[in-house]
Every structure is written in structure tokens, then in C-alpha cells.
């Protein structure tokens, strides 16, 4: 008994060491990012971790000095796009997954197989063709075009919310239908109110996606810095020519981009975990 206890304590010490070590690894880059965003000295790298000159100039210039890097505009662009994507993508994902989960129709299986098949093609193999389609619709160099590209394939992300809808008992629908509700009413009045976790998850994922998206915005907005999103814009600050002067400003920008995402994420973490966990095991 005594031996057992001693062994447990010994094991816990090992586990704590592991956790502390790994936590340091995980947190170090973020701590570094925040430190650098307050650094007054120029240059990409210093030989020390904590800045010698502390300043908020990087943040002030980030938002006010728009001569080369119009961060304000990029931030607004990204915010607008992500709001639109959050609304449209959630609507598409939820209606697709509801239809595939709770309705029965002839094309259901074929449609699910088609989506499975389409998912096996590399996502942006279609990049070139999508670009030309948008060009024909005169939607390149426009935020509307970007929203369309982000949301057009949303139906393919139905898996997680379908998994959730699958777990809701069928008797809910049946009871409501006996009371004379049609399927539309069942969806809006019965199922959606029960699906709060998965709705929050879907909106959260859709809203955060445009903040880090690089590929399509670089394709669509090529050379038009007025239409950049934050990922594309911030990258301009750390190119070989700019990084010496603007690296600290990049860090400030990165903090400003991460902050709303991080806050949202921590507030809604519970839903996110439920969504990811449910999606992984289904």
C-alpha cells in the first residue's frame, strides 16, 4: 500500500515536469510575440527576450500610419468578409446537414457519396478554374467574390453537424408532425433550438476561418492592396525588404488579429470542444 502511494507521487512528479516543460514550449512563441509587439528597438531579432525599450508606438502606427500598410482597411475587409461567411456558411452547413440527417429522399445517398468523392480532390486544385469562373462573373478583386469562394463549398463541411442531428431522437420530429407541424416548422422550432452547441460551433468555425485564409485572397486580390485581408497584409510586413523596419509592427498586428479570435474562442470553448469531439468520433 505504502509502496503504491510512493509510486503514484513519483509518477505525478514526472507528469508535472512533462506538463511544465511542454507548456513552456507551447507558450513561448506567443509570449515572444507579445514582447516583440512592445519593442522599441528596430530589427527582426534581438539577442535578448525582453525588450530594452518598451513602447506602444508599434500599435499606434499600425492603426494610424496607412501610407504603405493600410492595416485599418485590411482589418475592416476581414471583419466584413468573416461576418458574411459566418452567416452564409452556417446557413448552408446547417440546412445541408439537417436535410442529410433527418430527411429521406432518393438523391440522399448519391449526394453524400458525391461530397465524399469531391472531398478527395485537393481543395485548391480547382483554384485556377474558380478564378476564371469568377473572372467571367466580374467578381475578382472584390470582397463579394471572396465571400462566394469561401462559402460555395460549405456543403462539404456537413459531417460534424449531421453527426449531431443524428443523435437527436426521431420521436421529437414525429410528435411535432402528429401535432400538424410541417418539416420546415420542425427544423426551425424543434431541432434548431436544441442544436445550440452545434450552431455556435459552426458559426465560430466559419467566423474565424477568413482571419487566417491566405491562398484564395492572394489569388483574387493579386496586387490590389486595398482589398487585402489581414493574413495577406501582414505578410507584406515581413518580406525580405520590409522585415527589418516592420517586424515589430507585424507583431502588433498579429496580436490585434489574434485577440478577438482568442476572446471568442475562450468564451465559446465549451461548444468548440463539444463540436470537435463529436465530429471526431462520428
Amino acid at each position: 500500500m505504502n509502496r503504491q502511494k510512493g509510486k503514484g507521487r513519483y509518477g505525478n512528479t514526472a507528469v508535472y515536469t512533462l506538463l511544465v516543460l511542454l507548456s513552456a514550449f507551447w507558450v513561448f512563441p506567443f509570449l515572444y510575440l507579445v514582447m516583440q509587439s512592445f519593442r522599441g528597438e528596430p530589427g527582426v531579432t534581438t539577442d535578448y527576450f525582453f525588450p530594452k525599450v518598451w513602447t506602444v508606438r508599434n500599435y499606434v502606427e499600425l492603426w494610424t500610419d496607412t501610407q504603405f500598410f493600410n492595416f485599418r482597411k485590411w482589418y475592416l475587409n476581414t471583419l466584413l468578409v468573416s461576418l458574411a461567411v459566418a452567416v452564409i456558411q452556417s446557413a448552408v452547413v446547417l440546412s445541408t446537414s439537417y436535410a442529410l440527417s433527418r430527411l429521406r429522399f432518393k438523391m440522399r445517398r448519391p449526394l453524400m457519396n458525391l461530397i465524399l468523392l469531391l472531398g478527395m480532390f485537393p481543395g485548391f486544385m480547382s483554384m485556377t478554374a474558380v478564378y476564371f469562373v469568377l473572372k467571367e462573373l466580374a467578381l475578382t478583386q472584390s470582397l463579394v467574390g471572396l465571400v462566394i469562394v469561401y462559402t460555395a463549398g460549405s456543403a462539404m463541411q456537413y459531417y460534424i453537424s449531421k453527426g449531431f442531428f443524428d443523435t437527436l431522437p426521431k420521436s421529437l420530429d414525429e410528435a411535432a408532425r402528429i401535432d400538424g407541424a410541417n418539416r420546415h416548422t420542425v427544423f426551425f422550432k424543434i431541432i434548431l433550438p436544441l442544436a445550440k452547441p452545434i450552431i455556435v460551433y459552426t458559426v465560430l468555425v466559419a467566423f474565424t476561418m477568413p482571419w487566417g485564409e491566405y491562398m484564395y485572397s492572394s489569388l483574387l486580390m493579386l496586387g490590389n492592396s486595398d482589398k487585402f485581408n489581414v493574413a495577406l497584409g501582414l505578410q507584406q510586413m515581413i518580406t525580405r525588404e520590409n522585415s527589418y523596419r516592420y517586424f515589430t509592427r507585424f507583431c502588433a498586428g498579429a496580436v490585434c488579429v489574434s485577440l478577438p479570435n482568442a476572446i471568442l474562442f475562450f468564451l465559446l470553448q465549451r461548444y468548440y470542444v463539444e463540436g470537435v469531439t463529436g465530429g471526431a468520433v462520428k
Binding site: T45, F121, M125, A155, V257
Partner: protein, 466 residues
């Protein structure tokens, strides 16, 4: 797959049978519906449905006459004259004018074929609806009004309402582009054949041969060698990235979940921070931090732990290790989240029983935890494998595929197929090879998923919840 084709074939036969039947037993209004869509419906007072069908027919025929046909007729050659100087009477000078654009010809041809398929389907449905309407009328019953049709769209036909927009988006921005790119793989669309200035045309399997057996092709002769090397690394990367993530994530989750460990929520939050910060931020930052003169090297050098900077990202082999490690840093928090939830679901009495039987923690892990986790998370592992196989962000934002290799065709040591094809498209305008690579990626990913899906029956079990 074969059964699917057989099913589709018999479906078409059955459909044709129904059409013949409608032609034989239909009255003149049903028969005229073969020519004028919706005729049998709007002459039976089903105005909304009937005229909608007629409108579709007119729209399609107009499209076909003015855009579809001219493009489709040039599909075999993809155009004959790209551009030439023509005499402008009004200006009195020669001006440069564009004519055939192979790209648009191909794009519109694919679109026309898609439209035609939809049209044929609507036509078929329309004829059957006309026959059905006739039958209802003959039996003396009342036909549905437009209002009832609309109401059906919220009830028994509700899937049509819900899926109309998603399927439209999928068709235009996923199906059409994929079909288009598959066709591009059989053309010589590259920097020397770039519309609107130049035409491109069909070349059969030439691009595939160049990539597989190294036959010479415009744009370089190193493609076969590069393809082999990049594919090999891509597979190594996908397997090691997926497995390392999975096992380290699981280990961490077990550690946090271990009885007697305090501040569980705190530890979890620390690791989950990584998810809250957009990936591009952390990856761009890490690429700077791990550079030869980056902060990691400078701190280590300053502390006297190193005498020479570690080339984390600039040495070929080390860069490959680094990207796998950084991918761990990016991906493990997700695994921790997922595993934590599942680990708590493992019945505690299993462990209790194992302990009584004298099994230590390691045996318990291999006999209980691991089999349980593998059983539950196989679908997750597949999707992770696919995501890693095509992990654009980690490679592109961290190393950009570098360090470059001289005997590769426009690729570097850490390039995956996906970043390679991005470079080929963006920097080299080598669309034809990029298209062929895409098809190979599809084949690899498709084969792996099919095998695993068949092994786990994950798909078949889906109905159990229904």
C-alpha cells in the same frame, strides 16, 4: 463502384421505359410535352409548374443557341485563331484583336454539358409529370394547385428547398472547376500556350507520361524525378505528421487526465491557446523565430549553448524534421481536446479489473486505452491523414517549400505535392502539370480513404442512428 455503375445503368433503362410508356399511353397533351416542356401541365391549369418548365426550356435553348453551341463545336480543337491583326475601317489602322480563347471555350463547354444534363433531367421529369397529371385528371381527382406545390416545398419536398443553394454552390465552384482541371491535364495549357494571346490544345496522355516516365515536355524535363521525390516525402510527411500528432496528443491528454494531477483546466487551456491564434500568425512568427539568425538561435548562441547556429529551416533534412515538429506544435492541441473527451468515456471498471489482474499502467494502455481510442477515432485519423497530405499552410507559411533543390523542377526539399502545384500554377503558369499532380493527389487520397473506410465500416454504421 461497379455496382454503382450497374445501378445507374438500370436506372437509365427504367427511365427510358417510363418515357416510352408515357409516349404510348399519353394523350396529345402529354405527347406534346415531349416537345414543349410543361405543355401537359399548363393546359391542365397547373400554370406555375408548367410555365416554369417552359421558361427553363426557352432559357436553355437560347443559351445553347447563342453561347453553348459555338463553344461546344470548337471543343475538339479548342479554337483555331487566337489573335491576329485586323484592319479597322473606322480608325484606318491595323489593330490587334483576340478571337478564340481556348480557356473560355473549355470552360463554357463544360458548363454547357452540365446545363444540358440538368435540362435533360428536367425534361424527363416534366414529361413524367405531364403523364401523371393526365392520370390524375382521368381518375377524376383534382390536381394540386400552385399553392399546394409551394407548401410541399416546406414539407415533403423540403430537402429541395434546403439543398438548392448548397448544391448550386457545389456545382459551380467545386464540380465545374474539378471537371475543368481534369480536362486541363490532357491539354498543353502552360506559359507558352496561355490564352488569350495563344491557344492551347489537346495532347492526350503526354503530361501523364512526362510525370511518370520522364518523357521530354515543354517546361522542363525534371518533372518525373521531382514527382517521385516529392510524392515520397509527401507520404512520409503525412504518415509521420498524423501519427506523431495522434500519439503525443493522446499522451498529453492522458497526463492531464491522470488521477491526482491538479489544475486540469489550466493545463488544457495552455495548450488550447494555440488553436485560438490564427494559424498564419503562429506559422509566420515561427518561420522568423527559427531562421538562421532568428531569436531561437541567437538566444542559444548568447547563452553559450551553441557555437554555431542550427539551420532549422535552411538545411534540407533538418528542415523536414523541423516542419514535422512545428506541425506537432500546431496540431497537438486539437488532439488533446478530442482525446480528453473520449478518454473520460472509457469505463473506469475496465482499468479496475485490469489492475486487479495485475496489469501495470503500460499493459493497461496497450490492452485498453489504445484499442478503444483507435476504434473510436479511426474516422478522425483518416481525415487527419488527408488533411496532412494536403497541408498547405504549415509548409507554405513556414518554409515555402525551401530549401530549393537544383535537380527538382521548381520545388524544394520540404515541398508537398500541394505546395508544388501551387508554385507551378502561380509562378510558372504550368497549369497542365499542376492538373496532372492534382489527379494523382486525388488517386492517393481516394485509395487510402477507400481502404480504411472498407476496413472500419464507418460509413455503413451511419444508419444506426437514423
Amino acid at each position: 463502384m461497379q455496382t454503382e455503375i450497374k445501378k445507374a445503368g438500370s436506372g437509365v433503362l427504367r427511365g427510358a421505359g417510363k418515357l416510352v410508356d408515357a409516349l404510348r399511353t399519353g394523350d396529345f397533351r402529354t405527347r406534346l410535352s415531349f416537345l414543349i416542356m410543361g405543355f401537359g401541365l399548363f393546359t391542365r391549369r397547373q400554370f406555375a409548374r408548367g410555365f416554369l418548365l417552359l421558361l427553363c426550356q426557352i432559357a436553355f435553348l437560347l443559351y445553347f443557341a447563342f453561347a453553348g453551341l459555338s463553344n461546344l463545336s470548337r471543343l475538339t480543337t479548342l479554337g483555331s485563331v487566337a489573335s491576329k491583326e485586323v484592319y479597322d475601317e473606322a480608325l484606318g489602322i491595323f489593330v490587334y484583336k483576340y478571337f478564340d480563347n481556348s480557356l473560355l471555350i473549355l470552360l463554357y463547354s463544360v458548363l454547357t454539358i452540365l446545363f444540358a444534363l440538368v435540362f435533360v433531367y428536367l425534361w424527363y421529369k416534366g414529361v413524367l409529370a405531364a403523364r401523371a397529371a393526365q392520370a390524375v385528371e382521368e381518375s377524376g381527382k383534382r390536381l394540386k394547385s400552385a399553392k399546394e406545390d409551394l407548401r410541399a416545398l416546406l414539407d415533403e419536398e423540403y430537402h429541395k428547398t434546403l439543398l438548392a443553394l448548397p448544391v448550386l454552390g457545389l456545382t459551380v465552384f467545386t464540380v465545374l472547376p474539378i471537371l475543368f482541371m481534369v480536362l486541363i491535364a490532357f491539354t498543353n495549357f502552360d506559359v507558352a500556350h496561355k490564352p488569350p494571346k495563344e491557344l492551347f490544345t489537346w495532347v492526350g496522355w503526354e503530361n501523364f507520361k512526362a510525370l511518370l516516365s520522364g518523357t521530354a515536355i515543354a517546361g522542363g524535363s525534371k518533372f518525373a524525378h521531382t514527382f517521385k521525390e516529392v510524392l515520397l516525402w509527401n507520404i512520409v510527411w503525412a504518415v509521420s505528421a498524423t501519427l506523431s500528432n495522434y500519439f503525443l496528443g493522446m499522451l498529453l491528454a492522458i497526463a492531464i487526465n491522470k488521477k491526482g494531477i491538479r489544475f486540469k483546466k489550466f493545463w488544457r487551456s495552455v495548450f488550447v491557446t494555440t488553436i485560438a491564434v490564427p494559424q498564419f500568425v503562429s506559422l509566420m512568427l515561427l518561420s522568423k523565430m527559427l531562421a538562421d539568425t532568428g531569436v531561437v538561435n541567437r538566444l542559444l548562441l548568447g547563452a553559450g549553448l551553441l557555437s554555431k547556429a542550427i539551420p532549422f529551416l535552411s538545411d534540407g533534412n533538418l528542415a523536414r524534421v523541423t516542419v514535422i515538429l512545428v506541425n506537432l506544435w500546431v496540431g497537438v492541441p486539437y488532439t488533446v481536446l478530442i482525446c480528453t473527451g473520449i478518454l473520460m468515456n472509457i469505463p473506469a471498471d475496465l482499468y479496475e479489473a485490469a489492475r486487479i489482474d495485475g496489469a501495470g499502467p503500460i499493459v493497461a494502455y496497450f490492452k485498453i486505452t489504445l484499442p478503444y481510442m483507435l476504434h473510436i477515432t479511426t474516422p478522425y485519423l483518416i481525415s487527419q491523414f488527408i488533411a496532412n497530405f494536403n497541408n498547405f499552410n504549415v509548409i507554405f507559411l513556414l518554409t515555402g517549400g525551401d530549401p530549393l533543390v537544383l535537380d527538382y523542377a521548381f520545388a524544394g526539399r520540404t515541398d508537398l505535392l500541394i505546395t508544388w502545384l501551387y508554385k507551378l500554377t502561380f509562378n510558372e503558369s504550368n497549369y497542365k502539370i499542376a492538373a496532372v499532380i492534382s489527379i494523382f493527389v486525388f488517386l492517393v487520397v481516394g485509395t487510402v480513404s477507400l481502404i480504411v473506410y472498407n476496413l472500419t465500416n464507418a460509413v455503413k454504421n451511419e444508419e444506426e442512428f437514423g
